[in-house]
């Protein structure tokens, strides 16, 4: 981990520098227009400071975004509708629910596909096709449909959460499905013959060999799936009437001309993504330890 810190910081530094340069470049025209209207000319020094202190910049400076992010996270009560922690939690809730549903769906379909040839021929093509439909086109339909059917009320949950969970699961089941099909098929003919010589049942072959053998594939696919689940939850928040969640926050901010808030929400989403990836990584390491993987 230590060896990685320096390269990461160097890259981060380069990005920040480029970002500052772009901030000046993108906002300069607006500052000069303002000054021209007042009949003034601005020098280079003034131009630089002015471009980084705009209330509604075309491109906010990194420190402005950082300040807005900090204010959103630490400057508000977590129950406040202005708190990014509050909105982050709303998004996280849907992400985790969708992720869990996606795992259940992906794993059970994979088991079916591996054990039943009929399912391989019928389910697999549809699973692939499902992922070629743009989710932004599909999301509003899922929202409307789950609202009309009152799926949430039937389950004793909020309708909004249910539709977001469905969208999130829709995106995250696929990597799990593909990974698990490959993983469950990873034992070679020799290992399967071996089980046959012990007269093992189909269930025993699954439990003792196929399932544990699929774990590396499972965790690799989880890393993709968790990111997809978050994207799903955020996309699901855009057409819901935009009330809660980081997606809704971004949409509102962009519609009402609050670029700082928009960027802060974006970074909050990135933060949530980072935490989720770390969580999956920790889970994988725990599983590796339990399964005796060479450190």
């Amino acid at each position: 981990m230590k060896g990685k810190t320096v390269p990461v910081l160097v890259v981060l530094g380069i990005i920040v520098v480029i970002w500052y340069i772009c901030t000046v470049w993108k906002n300069a025209a607006w500052v000069q227009d303002q000054a021209g209207r007042d009949g003034r000319t601005v020098g280079f020094g003034e131009l630089v400071t002015a471009t980084m202190a705009l209330e509604r910049p075309m491109l906010p400076a990194p420190h402005q975004v950082a300040a807005a992010l900090w204010d959103g996270i630490a400057g508000q009560a977590v129950t406040s509708k202005r708190s990014l922690v509050y909105h982050g939690w709303v998004t996280l809730e849907a992400t985790l629910a969708g992720f869990a549903l996606g795992i259940v769906l992906g794993v059970s379909l994979a088991v079916g596909i591996v054990y039943f040839r009929v399912m391989e021929m019928t389910v697999m093509p549809w699973a692939v096709i499902s992922q070629t439909i743009p989710i932004v086109a599909l999301a509003p339909m899922i929202v409307v449909l789950s609202n009309t059917l009152s799926l949430g009320e039937a389950l004793g949950l909020e309708n909004r959460l249910v539709s977001k969970t469905i969208i999130s699961a829709y995106l995250s089941f696929f990597p799990v499905l593909v990974g698990m099909v490959k993983g469950l098929r990873s034992p070679d003919a020799m290992q399967l013959d071996q089980l046959a010589t012990w007269n093992a049942s189909g269930w025993q072959s699954f439990l003792y060999l196929r399932l544990p053998a699929s774990m590396p594939y499972f965790f690799a696919s989880l890393k993709v799936a968790i990111a997809a689940a978050l994207v799903g939850a955020i996309v699901g928040e855009l057409p819901t009437g935009a009330v809660e969640g980081l997606g809704a926050r971004m949409l509102v901010a962009s519609q009402f001309g609050q670029p700082l808030l928009m960027w802060a929400s974006l970074f909050a989403a990135a933060l949530v993504a980072g935490l989720l990836i770390l969580g999956v990584g920790a889970l994988q390491r725990a599983a590796d330890r339990a399964m005796g993987v060479r450190a």
Binding site: D193, T197, N199, A200, R294
Partner: protein, 266 residues
């Protein structure tokens, strides 16, 4: 059943055994008119070039392949019945240990599948670890062991459930010669100690001659038996027996058999 317990009673009997695979290029005769009797306590080696059917024959005995003609009995049963009665342990060329299980866990695997109780499992694991000289390695994971030790663990696994037939398909093929010599010596000791009937597939003439009481020489296309040699070597075999005149004579006869088998293949 009682007479099969006596040494010398037939354990594996093949009569006019045929196995033809249908492929895109027409039928392939993997086994043609194979007749062989293996008696209780025999150590039988199958030797021949690739495609001679030695592994296929072993797989037929294990009911992993099904003959298309002739008859084959294992302990007086069909191979499928014998498999269901867990009449044999099978050792493959690769150790095939599960990386997520410890050595003891790997040896316990067939016992768990067969439903032995926990105490019995532990007892048996200890006993076979001792038998293959891996005492104290039970808690290690496979990657912590050398290739030779892994193969010994896989033999222990095949011994754990007390099948009286041990089928071994080039078990030492992937190991270097020094390790191989050592394991051959240990295998003979194990055989003497357990009195099992062993079917052993190999590419190596010295290995076949050193280990076996009966050497089955096979040749390909179609896969068939060209010679069956009953070894006159004594049961006690130190490694240097390989320099004796008898040993060299048998090795010569095996080599002749292999050459003859190759002659009509043009």
């Amino acid at each position: 059943m009682k007479d099969t317990l006596n040494t010398g009673a037939p354990v594996i009997e093949a009569k006019g055994l045929n196995l033809t695979f249908q492929t895109g290029d027409g039928p392939v005769h993997a086994l043609k008119d194979v007749n062989l009797t293996v008696n209780r306590g025999d150590f039988v080696s199958f030797i021949g070039p690739s495609g001679c059917g030695k592994t296929t024959f072993l797989r037929c005995v294990a009911a992993l392949e099904h003959p298309t003609g002739g008859s084959l009995t294992v302990n007086g049963m069909t191979p499928d019945e014998a498999r269901m009665k867990r009449a044999y342990g099978y050792v493959f060329q690769a150790a095939g240990l599960y990386p997520w299980r410890t050595i003891a866990g790997n040896i316990r695997l067939p016992l768990e599948i067969m439903g032995f109780d926990k105490d019995e499992q532990a007892r048996r694991v200890e006993r076979v670890l001792d038998l293959v000289e891996l005492k104290g390695f039970g808690k290690k994971f496979p990657w912590q062991l050398s290739g030779g030790m892994q193969q010994r663990a896989s033999i222990a696994r095949a011994l754990a459930f007390d099948a009286d037939i041990l089928l071994m398909d080039e078990p030492f093929g992937a190991l270097d010669e020094i390790v191989r010599d050592r394991l051959n010596e240990e295998l003979l000791k194990l055989w003497a100690a357990t009195g099992k009937t062993i079917g052993f597939v190999t590419h190596s003439i010295p290995e076949a001659v050193y280990l076996s009481t009966k050497i089955v020489v096979m040749s390909p296309r179609p896969g068939r038996i060209t010679d069956v040699i009953d070894s006159p070597l004594p049961k006690e075999r130190p490694l240097d027996i390989r320099d004796s005149r008898e040993f060299i004579e048998i090795a010569h006869r095996v080599r002749e058999g292999l050459r003859a088998g190759h002659g009509d293949e043009v």
